[in-house]
Symmetry: C2
Subunit: 523 residues, 2 copies
Amino acid sequence: MVYSSDGFSWTPSTGRREGLPTIGVVEPSSHSTQPEDDIHDVIVIGAGYAGLVASRDLATQGKTTLLLEARDRLGGRTWHATIDGFNYEMGGTWIHWHMPHIYHEVSLYGLHNDWIITQNPGGKEDYFTATTGSEQRNLSHEEEVDICGRVFRIFSNVDGDDLRQSWKYAFGTDQSPELMSKWDKLSCQDRLDQIRDQLTAEEVSVLEAQLMQMGGNTLDKMGLVGALRWWALGSHTPTGLNDIALHTRLRSGNSELHRRIFEHAMSTDNLSYGFSAPVQRIEDAGDIVTVTTRNGKKWKARSVICTVPLNVLSSVEFSPRLPADKVAAVQQQSVNRCNKVHVDINGPDYLSWGSLATPGKGLISAFGDHLTPADDTHLVCFGPDPESSTGISLDNLDTVKDAVVHLLPENKQSEAIVNRIVSHDWNKDEFANGTWFFPPPNATTQYLSVLQRPHGNIFFASADWSDGWCGWIDGAVQSGMQTARQVILEQGKAAVVKKKVLQKGLSIDLSIDLSKGIVRCVI
Amino acid sequence: MVYSSDGFSWTPSTGRREGLPTIGVVEPSSHSTQPEDDIHDVIVIGAGYAGLVASRDLATQGKTTLLLEARDRLGGRTWHATIDGFNYEMGGTWIHWHMPHIYHEVSLYGLHNDWIITQNPGGKEDYFTATTGSEQRNLSHEEEVDICGRVFRIFSNVDGDDLRQSWKYAFGTDQSPELMSKWDKLSCQDRLDQIRDQLTAEEVSVLEAQLMQMGGNTLDKMGLVGALRWWALGSHTPTGLNDIALHTRLRSGNSELHRRIFEHAMSTDNLSYGFSAPVQRIEDAGDIVTVTTRNGKKWKARSVICTVPLNVLSSVEFSPRLPADKVAAVQQQSVNRCNKVHVDINGPDYLSWGSLATPGKGLISAFGDHLTPADDTHLVCFGPDPESSTGISLDNLDTVKDAVVHLLPENKQSEAIVNRIVSHDWNKDEFANGTWFFPPPNATTQYLSVLQRPHGNIFFASADWSDGWCGWIDGAVQSGMQTARQVILEQGKAAVVKKKVLQKGLSIDLSIDLSKGIVRCVI
């Protein structure tokens, strides 16, 4: 399997090694269906879910498409590495059939039986460990579900009706503007302070841990509406979010699905691509957009779909410049700077186990996510922003191991053996600058629609500003799909002359695309 | 608005009138993009959701597609009529964002804010009326949800774990074969008899009403696995099915979505179509399939997607003949022969109301589904097979009115005024022969995959044999989408020679499709 330069792994015997093997690396790394100086219908920047789905929808619908990707692999902030027969999801992981846009892809490419369940039942340590301050308590999973659901419900119930009327349709975009603006001013910390007297100390800690796992930062940086969105997407029920969003992942991995989308697009002969081609500049001359990559190469298209993540957008030069509201939206950034760390613990005992720790020693949660072929328990761990007071750097793996051990049941900590660590430092990754999107206060009302708006012939698609599962895989697919449709409708308005001559037994179909100087004839 | 010949309406002043106005009628009623005797890439038979989605996916991916529809309108067993500004969903109605395939369509065409809620809160008669035998009781909606959920849970809990392990993934197709075959032998009546001693008499009646509403027939005709499938799709929870499948419908109606899918396909210039063109014969000569419509016209294509409903398939001649297992599967039929009747009751009081009656006087349930512009309550009512002992014919509307009044609270029955009845007799409709699919015992294990299997170059798509939401709108979309993909992959294997010549500034793209004798060149 080919290595990506992204990510690293550590074992006691090998130490730390940079780069990870993944099926996400495509060979050859570039491919052209037309002369390089030709004008493409569309250039798509970024081969994450949004860019892949957009490229597929464009290429299959007859648009010559050039996909430019800064990295050496497919997937952007979602990809899996395969080590010793086990798939580690380095970024976005869990999907579900109640996430309609990504599930449509699962269904189209026949992966409907291809699931692994996180915290699968049947392990020896079949409970949940809550470490709150210096206290630790093991809860049954029933108690875990009860307490986690109860506190998230109290937190989300800002309108006395569990948001059922105020955010009626999970994917709707017409939430009450008054209510939205009222809540969107608040941070998660503000809201916690409002309800603190309804909660026990343990409940406060549990809620803090949940929220920090959602937003990857301290609660004062996290916008309340980001969390309320997740509550609405979880069907306004205490367990809904967990059931939909942290339960099932693809056994064969997100990169497998990426490859299927990519190969479908390639089968049309309309897709050109280049990997390791970071974009420096996008210049819209009115009819033609020129994209310049860092190596100085220029590429031309009638339209561009830019899927560069929000926290990276400021590294791209736009001409004409982005308007003031877009610049302000980009400056706002996503606050999520969490660490995601895979830790293989010796032996199969922790398969069904889960945990949280507030404040923790740099990691806030861990849970069993299947067994490796070597029969170790694969734990997925999350920690907050490394720069925050409770975060840790991934440069020092001893602190990472300490943080994991701190999450374990106290009577098991001394015997715990870490057999492998796998991670990718998303915060130091110049093409991500953080992990999944989570909004700061005010961002949803002020900037969501601004970020969605095209800039001339440059369109923008990303989970970072999707409706619905904003920040999630489903949002990336939704945004990619909707933006591709937007471009197709927009280009449909362009000057295309078609002439069809029908005679007995003979059909001549002439189409002259004035904007491209291309004549197409079917006899 | 143009009238379809389908359906009928009745008011006190006009009496009964056949035919209903609907945006589902397309004008002109036929359209050709190529000479009629030319060979299409694909002929799609049927313009319901399955056929529309398949046609759209084919046409947008460059396949010349001919869509033949027996009726005078789009939609098949899902369509809405518009009368005095109100949309009556004549067939399949409710959809939801947890139905991923149909929601993908909603999202693609921008209908994400376009919802009406059935049993919307706020009406005067805000309760549920259960008429069981000669008893009648008004329940709060909390009691209703509780009793309906409780009995369906007991009914569905055949494995002691609410089916959570046995039918783990709602859309999966790899349920345990042993268990499936054990349950699939049973009818819903068999299962009710197993659990009867756990239920009160009222609970038995409530469960009978629910099941008869699901399967549109007597319980002995209905396969248990059909009901278990619905339980799994309702997230293995007592209220899940109701929340997902009977809650939200499109305000602008299913026919609006049909038109958007159709117009997307039309925008490609690859779609030809003919309405009022029932198919009589499909003949596969190995390379070319000839479809003969009842008027004697012949149409040719490389592949055919047949979406003719299960209960109508025996009216189509196949050459070569269908194999024995397919013939047996077609003979099994869907057992669902329910009546669906729209009744506008004078005044807005019943907006939030719901009811069931066992055995009832021909209708088994009714519930408020929004108010008409005239401020009447629109009730949606369901009754079992008209041929069954508890069913009624739609020919005699006095019995329909009696059946509705019987469902109302006793103290309101004398004052009830019916202002309008709208319905379509799906059982007498030769292109439906029943309503949504519900399997008899044994059908799921014996015939589901048989019905899905292609017959030479003839492919089959329908909600009637979909995975997932089998019998529902989501299943139709899934089946249409998956079958179109199957055909595209299959035709991709056909002999196509492509030659690309690249020179400085000049690209000549020649593709010669040997199976069609078509040369395509792009200069």
